[in-house]
């Protein structure tokens, strides 16, 4: 999994950049350990959702046209049964905790690699919908959010070399309109990438990039938070798998100014 956050990260005044003892990497590692989310990097280790890879500010390519303000990269150590959600919600929760520890982020957009390839395809096909149980059943977490927090968003799913998401887009759109939840309300879609977020060429080796088969969904998110974005990422990863996608996808969510 990979999450790159665009925007301005204003560090806490007591964190002197360059002299602070912690950084995005060490904070993410510590938080992952504390929450029981870190898969240990030793043979035979069990438990945990992810293994630590890397994290930082203004990267991974500082020379990129649009480097992320902060970014995080982890690996999923084992296949996830289709009955379980991909651990995107805890991943973004961990990211949110780290960012809050570092400073205040004005988040403009986020890019997340959805590790759909980590869902165990050999499992019974009748279980393909089961991974969607978690996001749909947990939508109640967002009940009673501040109604003024509802945010218009553009959501781009890109399959990279794999065009399946474009073929599945009409079905996915219909399904999104049909399910009973109001965390992400989808109004329309197009088979283009309508965002002005730069294409990250520097993470192509993590998936089947570069981006070339996009679908853009338009809608509203119940609040512009990493929590809600984690929920959305979990939903879209599960839904993509339901409609036949089995390779990683790049999810880009950006705010649409009113």
């Amino acid at each position: 999994m990979f999450a790159g956050l665009y925007g301005e990260l204003k560090l806490h005044p007591w964190r002197d950049f360059g002299a602070a003892e912690s950084d995005a990497y060490s904070l993410f590692h510590s938080r992952s350990v504390a929450m029981g989310w870190l898969a240990k990097a030793t043979e035979g280790a069990t438990g945990g959702f992810w293994g630590m890879n890397d994290a930082g500010q203004w990267g991974p390519d500082p020379d990129a046209q649009y480097p992320y303000a902060v970014w995080f990269q982890v690996s999923i150590p084992r296949l996830i049964p289709p009955t379980q959600p991909l651990p995107l919600q805890p991943f973004l929760s961990c990211v949110g905790d780290v960012v809050a520890r570092m400073g205040t982020l004005h988040l403009d957009a986020i890019q997340i690699l959805l590790p759909v390839q980590s869902i165990n395809r050999s499992a019974d096909k009748s279980l393909r919908d089961e991974g969607l149980f978690a996001p749909i059943s947990s939508a109640g977490w967002f009940f009673d959010c501040n109604p003024h927090s509802i945010t218009r968003v553009q959501v781009v799913l890109d399959g990279g070399e794999n065009p399946v998401i474009r073929l599945a887009a009409p079905d996915l759109f219909q399904w999104l309109q049909k399910i009973k939840q109001n965390v992400f309300v989808c109004g329309s879609f197009s088979l283009t990438d309508d965002t002005n977020v730069g294409s990250p060429t520097f993470i192509d080796d993590l998936w089947v990039g570069p981006p070339q088969h996009p679908v853009t969904f338009y809608g509203t998110l119940i609040e512009w938070s990493l929590d809600a974005l984690g929920w959305l990422a979990t939903l879209l990863a599960g839904a993509s798998f339901k409609f036949g996608v089995t390779t990683p996808m790049l999810l880009t969510v950006s705010r649409v100014e009113d």
Binding site: S26, V33, A41, T42, M52, N53
Partner: protein, 197 residues
């Protein structure tokens, strides 16, 4: 008188038994107070003189067990005298991963109760070729404080020359400065990456 004589012999006999017990006690005290500490001291001396900054005795067992399933190798060292006590630290590493066309890994240490403050952390990457682990690239080495925080990790990376699926792992070695410590290394979980050097 007879009675007195008998009592005398009883006393003498009793004294002889007591003397034997006293002798045995003295031998026990001498052996525990003088000989055992000497052997412990000799053991420490031998470690310090013979293996120079690396323990080689029973800690091998810890290394083998720790490599089998703990998060980070639980390693030990001996604090400087006068305490001279066994202390503990952990060797930590992350999953070898791809980053901008390279295979990459990080290593660090976490001090539990050693008096030392810095360690030399060395990380090397290995890829599996025909079932054999082969070192690739240059080692990353850094003298760092404990904790793995900012600037306190050793890192190394090596270019992916092809995208062939290959198994990777890293070897992390921690040499705590100023104390003899376990020579064991941490080998991280094997990761299959579309990267071959």
């Amino acid at each position: 008188m007879k009675l007195e004589k008998q009592r005398f012999w009883v006393i003498v006999e009793s004294n002889a038994i007591s003397n034997v017990l006293v002798c045995i006690s003295l031998l026990f005290i001498i052996s525990t107070v003088l000989l055992v500490p000497h052997s412990v001291y000799a053991q420490e001396l031998e470690l310090e003189e013979d293996v120079n900054d690396a323990l080689v005795h029973k800690n091998h067992q810890d290394v083998a067990r720790s490599n089998g399933g703990l998060n980070g190798l639980v390693a030990t060292g001996i604090d400087p005298k006068p305490s001279g006590s066994i202390c503990h630290f952990r060797v930590e590493g992350d999953y070898v991963h791809t980053s901008m066309g390279d295979a990459s890994g990080h290593g660090w240490w976490v001090n539990t109760d050693c008096e030392a403050t810095q360690a030399v952390v060395t990380i090397r990457l290995q890829q599996s070729i025909n079932g054999n682990w082969v070192y690739v690239g240059l080692p990353g080495q850094k003298t760092v404080y404990s904790g793995g925080g900012a600037a306190n990790r050793a890192a190394t990376r090596v270019r992916c020359n092809s995208s062939a699926w290959t198994s990777w792992r890293s070897e992390v070695d921690v040499d705590v400065i100023g104390i003899p410590d376990t020579p064991g290394k941490l080998y991280t979980s094997v990761r299959s990456l579309n990267c071959r050097h």
